[in-house]
């Protein structure tokens, strides 16, 4: 895993490495789809598939027996199902942030990781959606969640954030999917033109919706893409804010915390970037050609975003603790004491170490530029963010106001098999995506190549001696 990183490192590293020209970019990225996959792809996909079968089996058993097979009961009614929902939906946020907000901020380092992380968003939201839908107990009636006019005159409770969640998540999924697909259209057209086989031509041709690359097509494409970016931007804030309100609008100590909305959003982006790194590092090893496009520059920027959002999250932990004491409210104070020293104190302190302490390594360039450490930190954050939701959701519930209502909660084997099953499902979907769709936006990379080197890519496609870094390029454009 440990890679020797050649200088220049971090943000001094170029956004595109190696000897490139328009042709090599299309060839390298498109080739992944059009040629047979590397040998390692098959066992990895098979592994993902096998894990997905565990998930399917769990769901079947759940539908047969009901949610009694889970560990939830009084007083902890929200356990793994909601924890995993929040965990997965948070992971999706990095994709939207990278593709929409960084586009509006004219950040060039988004270009080679946006497609990849958008795919991650969509699969993560799929995983997330399964949990509350199954938690309803009668998933065949889940359409009742929508305000459909019906003969019972029964409406969902509009004042409940749980209903807002239905709207927020379904909007999020729809917009993310549209955004992703819109970006894929020109690339499908490139693949259609390069594909040798009839079937590939037919599929890519259909998916590219008759794209010809005319100036008019590009004009419409650009405005559609910008509009979708504008639509996605508030979603980055709104989805996880609504998720946080599921807890915060109640009066359960530990849930009723005003700082939750921004703190959840930051946590979502934090988890999301950790997951992008978790995926990008192995994918760069499986597909070595990606190393030219996902460079140390990208890794460094992602590490910095992780550090910043991680600090916001840590600020949230400190505020929770400080104001619980400051409030001088016995239930608030007891909530935080229970986290510190109660039966689940292990998870709380593990959370502090995973999300608060270890990511501080990212302050130092040495750790940001070393993929081994960076990967390690991202894994720790993945675990930490899961623990955070466990601490907030279940630990707040397990001791009610009166000791007679106290209980203990742990996931059953079915909770675990469902959770691990979704992870494998996610992995399987990512491998399918890598196999059948261009993982990096080909035309955006060509555009970036043009912007960086002004078409002066040189005679043999050699990079010019002076490689401008992103800051210089931006200022030139604006001047």
């Amino acid at each position: 895993m440990q890679e020797t990183i050649k200088p220049p490192m971090g943000t001094d590293a170029p956004l595109i490495e190696g000897k490139q020209n328009y042709e090599t970019i299309t060839e390298k990225i498109g080739g992944i789809v059009l040629k047979s996959p590397p040998k390692i792809w098959y066992p990895l996909f098979a592994l993902g598939f096998a894990g997905t079968m565990v998930m399917v089996f769990t769901i079947c058993w759940l539908l047969l027996r009901g949610i009694g097979i889970w560990g939830v009961n009084q007083p902890v009614g929200w356990g793994f199902d909601i924890i995993n929902f929040v965990w997965w939906i948070g992971i999706g946020h990095a994709g939207t942030l990278i593709s929409a907000i960084l586009l509006l901020l004219r950040q060039q380092w988004r270009t080679s990781i946006n497609r990849f992380s958008e795919a991650m968003t969509i699969f993560a939201v799929m995983c997330a959606g399964m949990f509350p839908l199954l938690h309803t107990g009668r998933p065949w009636l889940d359409y009742w969640l929508f305000p459909l006019p019906n003969w019972l005159a029964m409406w969902p409770q509009f004042r409940s954030p749980l209903l807002w969640d239905v709207f927020a998540v379904s909007t999020y999924f729809t917009v993310s999917l549209l955004f992703w697909y819109t970006g894929l259209i020109p690339d499908f057209a490139s693949l259609r033109d390069r594909a040798k086989g009839k079937i590939a031509q037919l599929i890519c041709g259909t998916l590219s919706l008759g794209w010809r690359g005319s100036a008019k097509h590009w004009m419409r494409y650009e405005s559609a893409y910008l509009l979708l970016a504008g639509l996605s931007t508030p979603l980055v804030l709104s989805v996880h804010s609504v998720v946080s309100l599921d807890f915060a609008t109640s009066i359960v100590p530990g849930w009723h915390v005003t700082v939750f909305p921004p703190y959840f959003v930051a946590g979502a982006i934090y988890a999301g970037f950790a997951m992008v790194i978790t995926l990008a590092v192995p994918f760069r090893m499986i597909y070595p050609q990606l190393k030219d496009y996902i460079t140390n520059h990208h890794m460094d920027m992602m590490a910095k975003v992780m550090l910043a959002t991680g600090l916001i999250v840590f600020y949230g932990y400190m505020m929770e603790a400080f104001y619980s004491f400051y409030s001088a409210n016995q239930f608030e104070t007891y909530m935080i004491e229970n986290r510190f020293w109660g039966p689940y104190s292990g998870t709380y302190w593990a959370l502090m170490i995973c999300n608060g302490l270890i990511p501080q390594l990212l302050w130092f360039p040495r750790f940001r530029h070393n993929l081994f450490w960076l990967y390690g930190v991202s894994m720790v954050v993945n675990v930490g963010m899961w623990l955070e939701r466990f601490v907030i959701i279940s630990v707040s519930l397990h001791r009610e106001y009166k000791p007679s209502g106290w209980g203990f909660y742990a996931g059953t084997q079915w909770d675990w098999s469902m959770f691990i099953g979704t992870i494998f499902f996610f992995v399987m979907m990512m491998f399918l995506f890598a196999r059948f769709m261009p993982m990096i936006a080909i035309f955006e990379m060509r555009d970036l190549w043009h912007r960086l080197y002004h078409g002066k890519s040189g005679h043999n496609g050699h990079a010019p001696a002076h490689v401008p870094n992103s800051a210089e390029v931006t200022s030139k454009e604006d001047a």
Binding site: H256, V259, P262, Y315, K476
Partner: protein, 388 residues
């Protein structure tokens, strides 16, 4: 050389005048009306200008950390504003006197000893702790403001680019320190005005308010001097667009955090918490609350959506006037409902706002005049100025 400096000198003279008149009126009022009333007005004026000073520090830290091009013409203003913090500390003295504390903070009263919740909070809300923390906050803030000021000045003189990296390494952890200290300071000086109430979002709302109002002031000033050297020829639509977008972002973010706090406390409806909003929606205070929503959010939000406003400096300046006024109203809305059933301001509130403001601006302008108005050895700034 720098024509804008002549303008700044004029402005400083006016500011001194306003400061003397305002504070004079306030002192007169403290004898004529009541000392208690005067100190409450003074606290309001001081907190508002403290917001600008802390906003200056916050923006200095932010600029040095992210190194955005948008901050280059404004950075000397941010630094000058942050360097007014020692002055603000001095201006705090009347509040720290026993009479001031008694007029403002219910938890210093004798009756607090029989209040169960306030007794529970006594380990934090006590006068000694309050003083100790006061010193710590200002020492931290001044230290960060001074070091960044010093390294900028040295770079201006020597042109050594190593100072830029030094500032980054110092400013980034500074943001962490700033957020924590500002949150606790706002807990002491504002939240504890209604000592039963608490909210974990409060520090965030206040920190955003601070950078928001200071950003407004800096952009308003620089656009006013845009025809004077050294700003002449520098301020182009790419800058005004970035500044407009930043103000837009602050508007939205401020609303997002404020609204979230309100929604959560409204939905929870717990006695200690909801009292804050009940107080601010009783009687005519409701009008102020509505005005903050309409003129403090919807108006600047809709105006700043337009690209035209962000291109035309005079339109942007008028928008900032609205933002600035609404920021003052917001601080008023945070403080005054504690002391008064009616939102109608007393003339001493204005006297305090103008008086403290005059002194604050005079020192701010003095700081600004001490050095060249733009960073001297900044390649990215010269690139723009020479139209590359």
């Amino acid at each position: 050389m720098e024509q804008a400096k002549a303008k700044i000198q004029q402005a400083r003279t006016m500011a001194i005048g306003a400061g003397v008149v305002g504070l004079g009126a306030l002192i007169a009022g403290s004898f004529m009306v009541s000392k208690e009333h005067a100190i409450q007005s003074y606290h309001y004026g001081l907190i508002f200008w403290l917001f600008l000073a802390l906003g200056g520090l916050g923006l200095t830290l932010l600029h040095h950390t992210v190194k955005g091009k948008w901050g280059l013409p404004l950075i000397r203003m941010f630094e000058s504003s942050a360097m007014t913090l020692p002055l603000v500390a001095l201006l705090f003295i009347p509040i720290l006197l026993p009479e001031g504390m008694h007029a403002l903070f219910e938890w210093t009263h004798e009756e607090a000893k029989s209040d169960r919740i306030l007794q529970g909070k006594a380990y934090w809300l006590n006068t000694t702790g309050f003083y100790v923390r006061f010193v710590i906050y200002f020492v931290i803030w001044t230290f960060w403001a001074y070091m960044l000021w010093k390294w900028s000045t040295e770079q201006d003189k020597t042109g050594n680019p190593a100072f830029a990296q030094k500032r980054v390494n110092f400013a980034a952890p500074g943001i962490v320190v700033f957020m924590l200290s500002a949150t606790l300071a706002m807990t002491d000086w504002l939240m504890s005005l209604q000592p039963h109430w608490f909210s974990t979002m409060y520090g965030v709302i206040m920190a955003v308010s601070q950078v928001y109002v200071m950003m407004g002031l800096a952009v308003w000033l620089i656009l006013g001097w845009r025809d004077q050297a050294p700003y002449k020829g520098l301020i182009n639509p790419s800058y005004t667009r970035d500044w407009g977008n930043l103000l837009f972002t602050f508007t939205v973010f401020w609303t997002y955090v404020s609204f979230s706090q309100m929604l959560i406390q409204y939905a929870g409806n717990l006695p200690e918490e909801i009292s804050y909003y009940v107080q601010r929606n009783k009687g005519s205070w409701n009008v102020v609350s509505t005005a903050i929503a309409v003129l403090g959010f919807f108006a600047p939000f809709l105006i700043l959506l337009s690209p035209r406003v962000k291109r035309l400096p005079n339109l942007l300046r008028s928008t900032i006037v609205l933002i600035f006024v609404m920021r003052a109203v917001h601080v008023y809305w945070e403080i005054k409902p504690v002391f008064s059933e009616s939102p109608t301001p007393h003339w001493m509130d204005f006297a305090a706002l103008v008086g403290v403001g005059g002194i604050w601006l005079a020192v701010f302008f003095t700081n600004l005049l001490k050095r060249p108005l733009l960073p001297q050895h900044e390649p990215r700034l010269q690139e723009v100025a020479h139209g590359h």
